[in-house]
Amino acid sequence: MLVDGLTVGLGLAGFTVDAVSSCEDAATATRAQRYDAIVLDLMLPDGSGLDVLAELRGAKDSTPVVLLTARDQVADRISGLDAGADDYMGKPFDLDELAARLRAVARRGVGRANAILEWRGVMLDPAQLTATRGGAPLKLTRREFSVLRALMERPMATVPKAALEETLYGWQEEVESNAVEVHVHHLRTKLGPNFIKTVRGLGYRLAEDTP
């Protein structure tokens, strides 16, 4: 129920969620893919979430981790944070607060302090899922928003198409062929043809200025 709630609830907050319910599956998932942030429950059927965290950090994986736990004794919090967690929430928690904390740790994970993303007059608010251009509201679908956010979070980098696909779809969802291209095409219609550049064979990046 909690796993389902987090998948749906965080999905509504604009995240794409992959959910697993054991230490083993968590280890497999983090090895297979990069995530912006991880929500980790401490008591898992086959062990402690702290073991997953230790393994993650042992493998030099610095993906931000928010711990969920029912034991909110100070000692537990300290051991969780010392094991390499970035934040900590006691159950039961507020879904919106969890989403905000996830955004915060993900932001800090890429070395950014400002919550609002900005590039050449386009402003993106990941918390409100709203976008504006020159102050005027931009109407974007959820998937378009996700692609644009992924690009704007790393404005100088080329983002591979596969990474964008992972951003768009959880494991359970069927990836539509050419989906990324379709969303990029829609974004170009709304933002102008030169806002996003295609780096052939590698992926996409934001264009530096209007030619």
Partner: protein, 460 residues
């Protein structure tokens, strides 16, 4: 008198005093007897001496009475305060006082003619030895006052008691010190214990304890161990219970927030369905936690009654029938002749069976069959619940009855407590629970409990 020290001191001083007192009484009695014997012999000796002096005509009766008497007196007197203790009288047979020693009373010392006698003269008791000399026609009487004898004995006793009364306080002090020193291991232990924190349950060192305290320390240490284990169990139980209760709460809250926040009818309905399931699951969890707490708390022996096993099994099955038909699971009952009885606590057995059956039903596939059977096995009663579910992976079997353990084949509604409750309840009945995978699939839960049937209660 609750202090061992006070009691020991009182006993020691009391017995010492008693020994002393009996010694004094004994010495008093023997001294008195001895003094009487010696002084009596002296009286007789003196009387015979005077008599022989008279007989040999060494003194003329009535002529030199003073000399005779003083001679007699010199023989027995001593110069101390016990001087003048002997008195001598010589009477004619006709009853006239012929002579008497100085200090002797005027009245006749005795009426007896021969031998010892006691007589009261002027309020004093006299012991007298008399000899009748028929030849001379006189009677010789030598006597002494009993008061003098008493004084003699009294002086001897006083001589004994005086040092005793001086020594006695010293003795008391010595006893007090020895007792205090002897009891030091006890007071040391008390001091160690009272300076401890309530959470400090380390065992007391036993190596240098005296043999008398060692068993008590041993018992105390084993109590510490039990309390510590109970505390540890409670601590882990609390941690697990917190997790198990807060996780569904977190789920409920999340789903409620989704329901509130989502405009999508499908998402909305799904969230509400999740909430309904969640409330069911949490309700069941609370009930199971309470069952577990009840089993844990009832430290006392359960109160057994003579129960028909088959009727208990049937009651439990009837309770679970609704759940079974909802899951599309059939329950077959094979209870033999149905007369098996056992001397057990019915609630514990029903609790165990209910949880086992619930576990089987929730793991059974749709259209599956569960077989409940019971049989007599020697002095034990066996109850088996066999399902056609996925069973438990072999490596998880040893952990299956751990609290909150949920294996790979867990169900949506499971809490990880059912098998733990069954195990604990059966343990409380003195029985055992064995979980086995069936061939080709399914789990078999074998409950074995001692029937404890005697006399009229014998099983059929």
């Amino acid at each position: 008198m609750n202090s061992i020290r006070t009691r020991l001191i009182a006993i020691l001083i009391g017995t010492t005093g008693l020994v002393w007192l009996s010694a004094v009484i004994w010495i008093y009695a023997s001294t008195q007897a001895e003094v009487e014997r010696v002084l009596d012999a002296r009286l007789a000796e003196a009387a015979r001496m005077v008599n022989s002096l008279l007989t040999d005509q060494r003194i003329a009766i009535g002529v030199a009475q003073g000399a005779a008497v003083s001679a007699a007196l010199q023989a027995g007197s001593n110069p101390s305060s016990y001087g003048r203790q002997l008195s001598c009288q010589i009477w004619s047979l006709s009853g006239a006082l012929i002579a008497r020693s100085t200090g002797a009373p005027d009245a006749r010392l005795t009426k007896a003619k021969q031998g010892f006698s006691e007589n009261e003269i002027n309020g004093e008791i006299w012991r007298v030895y008399s000899i009748e000399n028929a030849e001379l026609g006189v009677s010789v009487m030598i006597g002494d006052s009993l008061g003098v004898r008493e004084r003699l004995v009294g002086d001897v006793i006083k001589g004994l008691l005086l040092p005793a009364t001086i020594i006695f306080p010293f003795l008391g002090g010595l006893i007090w010190l020895s007792v205090k020193r002897g009891l030091r291991p006890l007071s040391d232990m008390a001091r160690t214990l009272s300076s401890r924190k309530a959470s400090d349950l380390r065992p007391l060192p036993i190596s240098d304890m005296p043999d008398e305290i060692a068993p008590a320390v041993d018992a105390l240490n084993s109590l510490f161990k039990r309390v510590d284990a109970a505390r540890e169990r409670e601590r882990s139980f609390t941690a697990f219970a917190a997790h198990e209760l807060r996780t569904p709460l977190a789920g409920l809250k999340t789903q409620a927030q989704i329901a509130l926040g989502s405009a999508d009818a499908e998402v909305h309905a799904n969230a509400l369905r999740q909430i309904a399931t969640g409330v069911d699951r949490t309700g069941r969890l609370v009930k199971q936690l309470l069952d577990l707490a009840l089993l844990e708390a009832s430290e006392a022996e359960p109160s057994p009654t003579n129960e028909s096993i088959s009727s208990l099994v049937q009651t439990v099955i009837a309770e679970q029938q609704a759940l079974a038909s909802r899951c599309g699971v059939a329950i077959r009952i094979e209870l033999g002749d149905g007369k098996t009885k056992a001397w057990i606590e019915p609630h514990f057995l029903m609790l165990a069976l209910r949880n086992l059956l619930e576990n089987s039903i929730s793991h059974s596939p749709k259209g599956g069959t569960i077989v409940c059977s019971s049989a007599k096995d020697g002095t034990d009663v066996r109850i088996m619940i066999e399902d056609e579910g996925p069973g438990i992976p072999e490596e998880e079997l040893p952990r299956a009855t751990e609290r909150f353990f949920r294996g790979r084949n867990k169900t949506e509604i499971g809490s990880g407590l059912g098998l733990a409750i069954a195990q604990l309840a059966i343990e409380r009945l003195g029985g055992s629970l064995e979980l086995m995978n069936r061939d080709p699939r399914g789990l078999s839960a074998n409950v074995s409990i001692p029937a404890r049937v005697t006399g009229d209660w014998a099983c059929s």
